[in-house]
């Protein structure tokens, strides 16, 4: 059996249409597949994704926390989610980024998934 690229692209489309929002948080514990959500989500950062772009077996997600949004704090984690239920797809932990609401900078996060067969 072999998975066809058109089948992989169907899976890509299902994922790309399901994920609709991104969210930042302040939790800093190491990311694990057993996590069920952000450790310490900041609700004001739950925003519709700025862009979802597909290419062959790949999806690019663009999230923007505008300078006018969010909460002034140091963000350390990010997730992509399907917001209706919600379903939490992933969690990434990074070195803290200090953010000032109504300051002079947005935070932009770009993330790429690639679907392949082994």
């Amino acid at each position: 059996m072999v998975m066809l690229n058109v089948g992989l692209n169907r899976i890509r489309d299902l994922i790309s249409t399901d994920i609709d929002k991104g969210q930042l948080g302040t939790g800093s514990t190491v990311a694990s597949s057993t996590n069920t959500a952000l450790v310490s989500a900041e609700s004001t950062t739950l925003l519709a994704l700025d862009g979802i772009t597909t290419s062959d077996r790949a999806i690019k997600f663009d999230y923007v926390l505008p300078s006018t949004g969010g909460t002034s704090t140091t963000y350390r984690e990010f997730e992509l989610q399907s917001s209706a239920t919600p379903y939490h797809y992933d969690r990434i932990v990074f070195t803290g980024i200090s953010f000032t609401k109504d300051g002079t900078e947005d935070i932009n996060i770009t993330k790429v998934y690639f679907i392949d067969q082994k």
């Binding site: 862009g51 062959d56 300078s67 070195t95 932009n108 998934y113 392949d116």
Partner: protein, 371 residues
């Protein structure tokens, strides 16, 4: 997704024992590869926003500038990459997007439709940060999947301040360590054997070359780039403002997906001054003098001395005469345009040498493992 085991046993022969001839494991697995996450800051620059002297949300973003704010004016915004995070310290580039293309320094074609970088001669593909963070990178291994190319590869651990030559598939220990990892691939000159090439004409002789009125040609066996000579293209008449040559080649070439390069020599500043500013040199390639493509080169792209001119390909055609058929090209034309009809030059002023048909090379996958 599924796992099947097949045993096919031979029960023939004198020995009643059976033994497996084939023990195959079929394992189909889907992999959702979490690629890089890029975190950056985007200043508001000098943009102003309706409703407040600082910031204001005035409605749903319509300009896809950022988030849900409506920014009026978008000048001087600066995007600064803070971090690039890769799972297990492995960066993978499959050329689906331009996220990691350094558009300032990349001259090769980062093709997100065909999912590769396409290289002609003397071109560079360079990334922006493929890792950026607090950890110092001391070693890295660049692994490249390529076709029809012998490129030179480099890594920088300090944001491009120092590029260190590396070999694909071999771990490299940095002399200049840092926290901003980037990769670069370059192709060299026509004689560096970096791409597959077919010589269209050596220009060692003037056999079968035709020339237009006001033009004479001769072999220059003193100044040449390749072989035993080049061809002087002399403008000796004053009835027109160009000197031209053309030839029907002895064999046909498939031009599909390929590029042409040639060498053009300009003797000195005095001769250089005789060139028309726009469209100083044109090259034609096609089926005959009624069906061919023309490429135009401006004076600003030509220097005194030898110039490697090209690539000429279907991506950058200046004009089309008739209906060229790509698979049977055997007609070549070159013209030098002067500032005035009265302008003339003699042998040794302008020469053409070594016309080559080049097949571009590609890189379809880049992986950088680092510690």
């Amino acid at each position: 997704m599924s796992r099947d085991t097949a045993n096919i046993n031979d029960q023939l022969g004198e020995d009643p024992d059976v033994f497996p001839l084939l023990n195959a494991n079929y394992n189909e697995a889907l992999l959702i590869e979490e690629q890089s996450t890029l975190i950056s800051s985007h200043t508001l620059g000098s943009a102003w926003i309706v409703g407040t002297s600082t910031n204001a949300i005035v409605g749903t973003n319509t300009g896809t500038v950022s988030g849900n704010q409506q920014v009026v004016g978008d000048a001087d915004r600066i995007l600064t990459v803070n971090q690039v995070i890769n799972k297990n310290n492995i960066f993978r580039e499959r050329f689906r997007f331009n996220v990691f293309e350094d558009t300032t320094n990349t001259t090769a074609y980062w093709d997100t439709t065909n999912n590769y970088i396409k290289f002609n001669l003397n071109q560079t593909a360079q990334s922006v940060s493929v890792y950026k963070g607090n950890s110092t990178v001391i070693k890295a291994k660049l692994t490249v999947t390529s076709s029809n190319i012998t490129a030179s590869y480099y890594l920088s651990a300090n944001g491009g301040s120092n590029w260190e030559s590396v070999t694909s598939g071999t771990q490299h220990t940095f002399t200049n360590t840092g926290t901003d990892l980037r990769f670069k691939a370059t192709t060299g000159d026509i004689y560096d054997s970096v791409l597959s090439m077919t010589q269209i004409d050596s220009m060692d002789a003037i056999t079968d070359w035709n020339y237009t009125p006001n033009t004479t040609i001769s072999v220059n066996s003193t100044t040449f780039k390749e072989g035993t000579g080049s061809v002087n293209v002399n403008k000796t008449g004053v009835a027109a403002a160009f000197a031209g040559i053309n030839k029907t080649l002895g064999s046909q070439h498939d031009f599909t997906g390929k590029s042409v390069y040639l060498w053009l020599y300009v003797k000195d500043a005095t001769e250089y001054a005789k060139l028309q500013v726009t469209g100083s040199f044109t090259f034609g390639f096609g089926n005959d003098n009624s069906n061919y493509y023309t490429w135009s080169v401006d004076k600003a792209d030509i220097s005194i001395g030898w110039n490697l001119i090209g690539p000429f390909n279907t991506d950058n055609i200046s004009s089309t005469t008739g209906s060229p058929s790509l698979t049977t090209f055997d007609f070549v034309q070159a013209r030098l345009f002067s500032v005035a009809s009265a302008t003339t030059w003699t042998a040794g002023s302008y020469m053409i040498d070594d016309i080559e048909l080049v097949t571009p090379g590609t890189i379809s996958y880049v992986q950088v493992d680092y510690v």
